[in-house]
Amino acid sequence: MEMERDRLKSILESLLFAAEGPLTAHRIREIVGGVEKREIEALLGELGNEYEVGGRGFRIVEVAGGYQLRTPKENAEWVKNLYKGRPARMSRPLLETLAIIAYKQPITRAEIEAIRGVDVDGVLATLLERRLVRIVARKDVPGRPFLYGTTPEFLELFNLKDLSQLPTLKEMEEMASLPSQQDPSSEQR
C-alpha cells in the first residue's frame, strides 16, 4: 500500500510519541507495513530536521539502536520544574504500613514489623516526614517503645471525615474478595 509522505510522517510522529522507549526502524516497519526501512529513516531525518529548524519542543534522537522523541536541552530548565512539588506518591510498602497503622493504632514499630514481616524503618520515617503518621504515646512495656497513629493529614489524603469512615472489616472483605475474574461479563467482548 502506497502511503502519502505527509500521512506517513504524521503516523511516525504518533508512534514515536506514544512509544514507551526507543523504536527501531525495523519495528516501525513492522507496524506501518509496506514501507522501506530506508524510506522510514529518511522521513525520520526530515522530521528531526523540521523540529530543529522550527525550534520545536521535541527532538528526534537516535538512542539504543532506535529512535526516540525527547525534549531539547535548551528547555530542560523548565521541564525539570514539572517534577517539582508533585502530589504525594505512595509505594506499596508505604501503603501497606499505613494500612496497618490505620487499623491497628496505636501500634509499635515491632508490632508493625511482625505483621509485615520486614523491617519498616525507612517506610516509617517517610510516613512521619509526610505527616501521615505520628507518635501518639509510649507503650507501657519494657523499653517503652513509641506507639504510632495516623494524623489529620492522613484523613485528608484519603478523603475521610474521621477514622470511623475507614471501611469496616466486613466491607473490606466484600471489596477485597472481588477479583475481577469472578465477573465474567466485565472484561470480555
Binding site: Y83, A99, L157, S164, L169, M175
Partner: protein, 256 residues
C-alpha cells in the same frame, strides 16, 4: 455464586424487557403487558433449556410482570392495593425502564467518545527519578484496602506444610470467637487479638472472623465518631451453631 451468569446479550431483566419492547415496536409508556410477559417468560424458559443459570433478578421480574398483568385484568376500582386507585399498575415498571434506558444510552455515548488507549494515545513518560516499584498517585481508600489484602495474601506462605493444622486452627478460632462473644456480648475488634501469641495466630483469628462474617454469624459495626470497631453475634449462639453445621463449617467433620 452463579447469579452473575447472564444470558450473553442481556445485561439483566430490564435489558431483556427493553429488547422485547423494541422487538414488538411498542412504546415503553404503553406496554402490552400480556404479550411482553409471555415473551419474557418464554425467553427465561429458553435460557433454562440452554442450561443457562437464570439469575434471581430475572425471576423477580417475572413475578413482577405476572403481578402487573393480574392487576391490569381487574376491573377499574376493584384494585384495592395501596389505595392508588388511578395509577396504572405499569407505572413503576415504566419509570424503571425509562431510567435504565437513559443510562444505557449514556453508556453508548461514552463508548463513542475518543477513548484513551483505544482511539487516542498519550505518552507514558519516563520520569527522571524512575522508580521501579509500583507507585500510585493520589492513593484512594480502595488502595488502602488492597494494601491490607496484600498483607493477608503474604501470610499463607507459612501454611504450605501446615494446611491441616491451619484448617483446624481457623475452625478452632471460629468457635473460640463465638464463645468469647457469647460471654462478653460485644467486643472491641482489637481486643479479640489480645491473646494472640504469634503472627500466625493473628492471621488465623482474622481469617476466622472473616469466615464468621461471611456466613453471617457475627456482625461488625462502628460507633459514631472515632468509635472502635465492634463485634457481636448476629444471632443467639445456638442458632449460629446450627447454621454453621448446615453450612458445613466450624465442625471438624467427624461429628466430634
Amino acid at each position: 455464586m452463579s447469579t452473575s451468569v447472564k444470558l450473553e446479550i442481556f445485561e439483566g431483566p430490564l435489558d431483556l424487557l427493553l429488547h422485547l419492547i423494541k422487538k414488538n415496536e411498542v412504546s415503553i409508556t404503553d406496554i402490552p403487558i400480556a404479550t411482553i410477559t409471555e415473551q419474557y417468560l418464554a425467553t427465561l424458559e429458553l435460557m433454562q433449556t440452554m442450561n443457562l443459570d437464570v439469575a434471581g433478578e430475572f425471576l423477580v421480574m417475572a413475578a413482577t410482570l405476572i403481578h402487573i398483568k393480574s392487576r391490569m385484568l381487574l376491573p377499574a376500582g376493584e384494585d384495592e392495593e395501596e389505595g392508588d386507585e388511578g395509577e396504572d399498575p405499569r407505572a413503576e415498571l415504566v419509570r424503571r425502564l425509562l431510567e435504565y434506558q437513559r443510562f444505557k444510552e449514556a453508556a453508548e455515548e461514552l463508548q463513542s467518545r475518543e477513548i484513551l488507549g483505544r482511539d487516542v494515545f498519550a505518552r507514558i513518560p519516563d520520569s527522571p527519578e524512575h522508580n521501579p516499584t509500583v507507585v500510585i498517585e493520589q492513593p484512594s481508600l480502595f488502595d488502602l484496602i488492597a494494601a491490607l489484602r496484600q498483607i493477608l495474601e503474604r501470610f499463607p506462605e507459612e501454611r504450605v506444610h501446615e494446611v491441616v493444622l491451619e484448617r483446624v486452627s481457623v475452625r478452632e478460632k471460629m468457635n473460640l470467637l463465638l464463645d468469647s462473644l457469647h460471654q462478653r456480648g460485644r467486643a472491641i475488634f482489637q481486643d479479640l487479638f489480645e491473646t494472640a501469641t504469634s503472627r500466625l495466630e493473628v492471621v488465623m483469628t482474622f481469617l476466622a472472623m472473616l469466615e464468621l462474617v461471611r456466613i453471617r454469624a457475627i456482625r461488625i459495626s462502628q460507633e459514631e465518631g472515632m468509635g472502635p470497631i465492634m463485634i457481636e453475634l448476629a444471632a443467639p449462639l445456638g442458632e449460629v451453631q446450627d447454621r454453621m453445621a448446615k453450612e458445613g463449617v466450624g465442625d471438624d467433620g467427624d461429628g466430634a
